[in-house]
Amino acid sequence: MSQNAKWKDVYVQGASTTKWGFFPNDSTSSMGSAAIVDALKDAQIKWGKVEAVFAGSVYQGTASGHRVVGEIGFTGIPIVNVESACSSGATAFRLAYDSIRLGQYETVLAIGFEKMPRGPIPSTAFPSWQLAMGFNVQPANYALETMEYMHQYGATVEDFARVSVKNRRNGSLNPNARFQKAVSTEEVLQSAMIASPLRLLNCCPLADGAVAMVLTSKPESNRAIRVASSVLVSGVYGEESYQSGITASVHHYPSKGIVEKSAREAFESAGYGPEDIDIVQAYDSMGPGELWDIEKLGFCARGTAPELLREGVFDLTGSLPVNTDGGLLSRGHPLGATALAQIHEIVSQLRGEAGQRQVANPKLGLAHAMGAGPNSAVTILQR
């Protein structure tokens, strides 16, 4: 995937997020439209300049993006609704990015919004017989991957608790996070068992909210952030994907898995490598996942992330801060909006506008989201 000389540079000119939480009195259209208005203000452009909208959500039903945009006012532009489970927001972002990069439009909007059902998520990403057998429990599916990770690399439940401790500490500095209270290792290890070995505080909370982003090829502000690459990989034959009920092929395991492939394509397209990245939003729907995600993205060797976490490498003051906004574990997980919320945090950090959790002088940031299907979306942004 090499760069084409005719492709245009793409920038995030405006970005806005609502708070994340449980908002029974708000609708997706009210939250989504509020995010759009704020993103337009942040970008200092008028609604009439927007030429297309790409809208990511999972549980909002038919024409969900149209309902959001309808609150702003229809202007005859195309509204494309996108669903790719927990990577929907990044997929909307990728379509928006491509539409500008390839010269179709000059200014477009990528939005993500969700109003979550209460309790665990009723996934439809499984065949009916697997649903009948109870295989659609996401903490349990991550628990299977966690068991393999423990077995292969000797990681412990204390290692996984430290991910929650770090991310909840970061989240305590994020006024938009659903959970803004730090937790201790002991609290994580004593929380209720959900699917062994995963406990309640190893699992992300769900959340409602919305995020909007203005992308353009003609940035009119020095706060604009360049999109270095945006990649979606949907499935690699032979690899296990427990969150989609897929087991590994014994005879034909792929040389590169879905995360590795998406990261490699994103780095190649951006012209940078893992060593150039200053901040990361990794996929921490379950705490242990953050560790193997950092490894699969290429930031360290397999099995070494727990040790680097202990040494503080992934802290706000470390050499590679990970999930600076508190990640899914603190911010919360609004499925269709999550991946755009990750990108929003990278934009805030690169602009130097992340407040108390601001990392010192980052220039390149990477966001990674997984989605049932499976999907793996990697976005690299540059100041």
């Binding site: 299977l144 014994v250 005879h251």
Partner: protein, 147 residues
């Protein structure tokens, strides 16, 4: 009054069969072109690995080992699952070389790497039917299949 007889029905047709001697086995597909093995049996004659149309139906011996397992402590959302909670499920690698997701009979307690065998047991009751499923249990388990 006639007594209505309880019927045992599978959670899904075509996952397993029972031999004349009462021993159950899982049904799958194998690609004659590339050797890939699938469970459940693929209805479409198209290999997802090599994309050729050389699939044949095969039967598995119903023995393997545990690769990973977890005990689910809460009722799954969506109302799809009507079995008992808590329940244990995991990944079993069958001796024929395919990994499958299966519920596990966790008594005696199973661990990673352990040899397991297939049994057919009740998943839940529905009106006058016993809805049956395959599960895997320790080789020395006393759990007896009903199907």
């Amino acid at each position: 009054m006639m007594k209505i007889e309880r019927k045992a029905i599978p959670v899904m047709e075509g996952l397993w069969k029972v031999e004349a001697d009462g021993k159950p086995y899982l049904i799958g597909s194998r690609c004659e072109a590339c050797g890939e093995v699938f469970f459940p049996r693929k209805k479409l004659n198209f290999c997802m690995q090599c994309h050729e149309e050389y699939l044949e139906e095969i039967q598995f011996s119903g023995e393997g080992r545990v690769l990973a397992l977890t005990k689910v402590e809460r009722q799954p959302a969506g109302g799809f699952y009507k079995g008992a909670v808590p329940y244990t499920y995991g990944i079993v690698q069958l001796d024929e070389g395919v990994n499958i997701c299966s519920q596990l009979v966790d008594d005696p307690v199973l661990s990673v790497g352990e040899r397991v065998k297939m049994v057919v047991v009740k998943l839940y009751e529905e009106e006058n039917n016993d809805v049956m499923t395959f599960k895997f249990t320790a080789e020395n388990s006393l759990v007896r299949g009903e199907g």
